[in-house]
Each structure stands twice: as C-alpha cells, then as structure tokens.
Symmetry: C2
Subunit: 206 residues, 2 copies
DNA sequence: GGGGTCATGTAATAGGTTACATGATTCT
DNA sequence: AGAATCATGTAACCTATTACATGACCCC
C-alpha cells in the first residue's frame, strides 16, 4: 500500500499545492514558501527547490509554460501544474493524511541506545531536555497567538497545534521516564548502574 | 549549539555503540542490528551500513583492526572504536538526549497543506487515520508485551514506550481536529467549504 | 546435486546540500 | 559610488539507496 512516488520529497508536495493556484516561476515559489513560513513544516533550501522543480517537470507533473523576461533581469521560466500533477497532488496528500508512516526521529534513536550511559547522567540530561521542551512550547504558542491576533484563520495554524501536542506528549513521557529511573521503590537506577559497571569492566579498566 | 558532526547518519551512532562493546566486522554489525530489531528505531539497509563504516573509518572514529579469513569465506575486515570515537559517541548521544531538534514529519507537511482539500473529505480521511493509529498502537503494545514476557528489561523497550506515547497523543490530536471541523456550533466546516469553493472557482470551472 | 538463503562486499545511480556566479536594485 | 541585498540560476560535491556479484553452506 505504500505507493512509490516519482518524486517523494515533501517540498514537491508544497510546490504542487502552490501551482494548483496559479503558474509561477521557481523564484516566486521560493518567495511564497518563505512568506508563508512553510520552512517550519517542510525542509527546503534554495537549491533543493530547483532540484524538485526539475524532477517534477521530468515526471510530467508540471510543465514549462513560458519563459518571460522583465527588464534586464535574467529569464524566468514559469511552470504550470498539469492534470497528472493535480491528480498526483490530491492522491498524495490524501494518502499522507490517512496513513501514519513509520519515521525515525533522532530522539527515538537516542532512546534505543540510552543504556550506554549511566543512569544518573541520563536523569540529568533528561531534566535539561524538559527545560528546552518547555521553551519550545512557549515559542510555538507565542507564534500561534501572534498569527491569530493578526487575523489568520486557525486552520492555517493546525500544524503548529500538532507540534504543540507532540511537545506536550514528549514532556509527559520524559517526566515519566525520569520517574521510572529514580523511583526509590521500583526505580531502574540501581540495576542499570550495576549493568553499566559490568559493561565497563568487560571493556577493561581505562 | 547545533554541532556539525563529521558523520551525521544515526546508523553511525548505533555502530559506535556496538563497537564500544567489542570490535566487529561489518557483517557482524549488520547481524547484531537485525537481531536487536534496531531497524525499528534507526533506518538502515545493508548498503548504508558499509557506507557508514567507511565514513567512520575515514573520520578516524573507528579503525581497521585486522583482516581475518575463516574457512573459505571472503576476507572480513574487523573494526575497533578509537578514543576519538568513544568521545564522539558519548558527546553525540548526550546531545541528542538534551536537545529536542526540529524535525519534519510527513504528517506535519500534510497538515500545513490540508486546506487544499474540502473539509468533509478531510474528516473522512482523518477518521480512517484514527483506525490505523489504533492498529499501530495495538501492534507496538503487543511487541512490548512479548519482549517483556521473554524477560527483556523494560529499559531496552523505552523507545517503544515513546512511540506508544506519541501515537496516543496523535490520536488525541486528530480526534480533536475532527471535532474542530465538525462542531455544529463553532465548526470550521462551513467557512472552510466556502473558501474552498472560491479557490476552485478562481482556477476556473473544470 | 540443484535451489534457497547466508555471508560479504562493490559499483552504479539517484537524491540533496552547499558553494559558486552574476547582473539588478536599493540604500547610505 | 560602494555595500548590501534581491533575483536567478548552475555546478560540484556528498549521502544514501539499489542493483549487481559471487562463493559457501544447508535442505530436500
């Protein structure tokens, strides 16, 4: 069921979305993306945009419409979405909304190897993380508040709400994890520390 | 503060972790990774492992220790972690635990463009997502239960607990979002649908 | 003794990021 | 008039995924 798309970069999805509204040239896309702060949700750089536009054109999802020249500026190539592109866009977006896909956040990787550090240090580090999580939440929240105050419809901030929800959940998880380690009755701290000493000993004394 | 690492692929972190225990050759690493089900947390394929090992070696974080031959099998190159590697490993893992980094999940990208679909369809799709989220939660939970029953210490399942927490939070978020759209008093449905018709009209009738 | 899968890699290709280039405006 | 920034892209370089190779063991 996990369809293999000709162009899989999320930036391509955004490009299709904007070209659905009207034809644009790459720089205009770049500008629009920046203005809408899309970089918060979709990783992109100036360079990757041209790459993606090239890929989309090759795949027939967008087509070169005209090259115009304005003043002494370099030529600009305007692209329009094709019917195939429209179809691909709807199907792709639909699919992303329906299917939760397995991803690989850095924190998950770190957690899977966390036993390599001694428990007291981990507790300290996680405490530090809690502080930063709180800071991020505050920042996202204030971004939301600002945009709402400026009159933006909350629908266009839904991805920030999602972020906020995830930050909250992670905060709860980390708090919980710390408790698991440090609980005086049932905490993993002691056995973990023991296991850790063993491993260090196996590697030979430093 | 976001340090630029010589090798940034998470797979390299896992390699360093395992080589901290003892020297191994690439295939053995590959096998160990598979046995520990690390692929659930760290994306990797046979090919990328060799690449990463090459990068680590070039960066001086691991070093070729010997090449041995056993029976008629091809030669195997055994790698050992270096002091620089040990330092890098601790520092890197530490940093990952402390700093929540801004990532780009696919669902966030989809949410940021969701206004391009009509609200009733979005409600349908999100309902579908809820079903799949529940299925994934059940699957993760049963994996955890199985491993615990087999005697694994819960510390080594912490990343699965995290996943579970995130799936739960996403479920809550999606449920909430559906409610935001469909609430008969305050729902965004009508205004969204209206806005959507406008946009479609602007593109000209199909 | 022939067909899978294990073991062990290398090479070709595609995908993405960074650096480079260059004329046009705009600001001081 | 020189400095900064906008506008517009190309090219070089890394990274990562896929495909290709090939001998050994294991099962029927």
């Amino acid at each position: 069921m996990a369809v293999r798309r000709k162009v899989s970069n999320m930036l391509a999805l955004a490009v299709l979305a904007y070209l659905t509204q009207r034809p644009m040239h790459p720089y205009e896309l770049s500008r629009t993306l920046r203005d809408n702060d899309d970089a918060r949700s979709i990783k992109f750089s100036h360079g990757s945009l041209y790459m993606v536009v090239g890929q989309l054109a090759k795949a027939g999802l967008i087509a070169e419409q005209e090259t115009s020249r304005e003043g002494q500026r370099p030529e600009r190539t305007v692209y329009a979405i094709t019917d195939a592109g429209r179809t691909e866009f709807r199907e792709w977006l639909t699919n992303l909304l329906v299917e939760p896909d397995h991803e690989y956040p850095h924190f998950v990787a770190a957690l899977s190897l966390v036993a390599a550090l001694p428990p007291d240090e981990v507790v300290r580090l996680l405490g530090d993380r809690l502080v930063r999580l709180a800071a991020q939440q505050a920042e996202v929240q204030s971004g939301i508040d600002g945009a709402l105050a400026a009159g933006l419809h909350p629908l266009f901030l839904i991805e920030e709400q999602y972020r906020l929800a995830m930050l909250g959940a992670e905060t709860a998880f980390v708090t919980d994890f710390i408790e698991q380690i440090t609980n005086p009755e049932t905490g993993w701290g002691p056995s973990w520390a023991e296991f850790h000493r063993q491993a260090a000993a196996n590697r030979g004394p430093s």
